[in-house]
Symmetry: C2
Subunit: 309 residues, 2 copies
């Protein structure tokens, strides 16, 4: 691969930025990668493990002369960061972000984008329940989707260049309108996360069953929920607060649907349950066929380190 950007500035050095740094280095996609994180501890760790070429102690230093700036901070912090870096951006630079919500980031970041700077919002559909500068790995994006939600007046060449970088890190790109993105993600990610958080919280409150029992006997179902519910609290707080309408809409539908199934259990309507479970099984087949998961049984039992494929 050849260099796509001469200097990439990563703002926020968590799982996503760290994985980008490692993937860009592995594929030789950036001349230099600078990084900045608000916390001294994160910067120290990033330096210690050599996460990027240069860890900077200020936002201004990190973005100076960068031709790509990646905002990889919680959604609620994007606007503030953008306001601070705006005066220091090079002419012709591209700013992108990796937030899980798109319209609110556009609303928060857009007004601070200087003339002559390109803003191309994005969202990699990749992650694990781990966070922080040590959580990244070079193959995180491999075969994952990375959605771009460029505004109607976006510069096609700037979008194409960012697209090349993302593809070179192993991801597949698609484009989508920002509000539609937020609805799709409310269904596929945001509502499921809130539900998992809720169920894990219920188990924690239930005093007739001990914590030890819940933990020891966490068979398939609950264990998968706890993995989801272990994700970064700050990131997820911001996701829910910034995709409020779509998430509440989906949760409302979810509750209705749950009540219908609860009623079927209460009334002993086995036919209704069986029909419902047969339909949901077919959706799973679709996901395997679409290549978004494997059919191999797993449940987190596979030993070993970080995924390599």
């Amino acid at each position: 691969m050849s260099v796509i950007y001469d200097r990439v500035a990563l703002i926020g050095l968590g799982l996503i930025a760290g994985s980008m740094a490692l993937a860009m280095r592995q594929e030789g996609l950036a001349g230099e990668v600078t990084g900045y994180a608000r916390s001294q501890e994160t910067r120290d760790t990033a330096r210690e493990i050599g996460l990027c070429d240069r860890v900077c102690d200020s936002l201004a230093e990190a973005v100076a002369d960068a031709d790509l700036v990646v905002l990889a901070v919680p959604v609620g912090a994007m606007g503030e960061v953008m306001a601070e870096i705006a005066p220091h951006l090079a002419a012709g630079a591209t700013v992108t972000d990796v937030g899980s919500v798109k319209q609110s980031v556009i609303d928060a970041v857009g007004p601070y984008i200087p003339q002559g700077v390109h803003f191309i919002p994005g969202h990699p559909l990749a992650g694990t329940e781990h966070s922080g500068p040590r959580a990244g790995f070079a193959t995180l994006f491999r075969n994952r989707w990375w959605l771009l939600t460029p505004l109607p007046d976006a510069d096609p060449q700037a979008v194409a260049r960012l697209d090349r970088l993302i593809t070179a890190m192993g991801a597949k790109t698609d484009r989508m309108e920002a509000t539609h993105h937020d609805l799709v993600l409310a269904v596929t990610s945001h509502a499921p996360h809130l539900i998992a958080y809720t169920m894990v919280g219920v188990a924690d409150h239930l005093r007739r069953v001990t914590d030890e029992e819940v933990i020891q006997y966490s068979a398939a179902g609950f264990r998968d929920f706890t993995r989801i519910a272990a994700s970064d609290p700050t990131m997820w707080r911001d996701v829910f607060l910034h995709n409020k309408e779509a998430t509440l809409d989906i949760l409302g539908r979810f509750t209705e649907e749950l009540f219908v199934l609860q009623r079927a259990i209460r009334m002993g309507d086995g036919q209704h349950l069986h029909d419902y479970f047969t339909r949901t099984r077919a959706i799973r087949r679709g996901i395997i066929e679409a290549g978004q998961d494997t059919g191999a049984p797993d449940f987190g039992r596979t030993p070993g380190a970080k995924p390599t494929a």
Copy 2:
């Protein structure tokens, strides 16, 4: 290992029975393993793949002279099967089951147990979203819990012998009172399954988002739900109908809790959300420390076949 039972009869030849057959063969734990399934197709498949030593065409033939009979059929079918095999059981035989609900199985099976036959209800906390005679693998039980809920008058020697078999297949055993088992499992498995089924159903109904989008962009959250929601419909119908009270109790608590979180989102109460998510994260750590999962990020991305450890 040495032979623990001279003849083991497996009634129902799905994921659990198939895995038992393979594990017993691998470790040399049974003199002979017979098998029976109601469906001709399942019996044919089991013969074709040599799942057990002898596949029988009748229940009576399968259980004749068996010193261990394993009921591995859906919870709702246990009573009927037991009524049919009762006259054919050898004196001194042990009958166990692998149902996910224990009190209703005791109520359904218990009355048919002949004098001199031991009944020791059990539940392996192991499974995948696959089912049928081809789904089994010898290591399914390795390092998993297998709960026994013997009645107060159970013969200690018969229980110890069954315990030896289970342990020799790689599982860890524990004993529990049947109704307590049903409550613990409602929290750790039954309610999470119903919730996952519900969320997958919501996605299926939502017409503003296409099925293709839901499937393609099924990031971590939703994908894990679809895996849970792909489990065997008949088995799960029976679980919910036979653990009705405990499941409805937990679902009621879940809904209350979800409403509190929805309200926090609507009111913009970020502190409440952040505190909640921080607590749930700690539970996940407990599960990893208890050895019920690994800390490695995975999300079904690890390629390869069936788990081997």
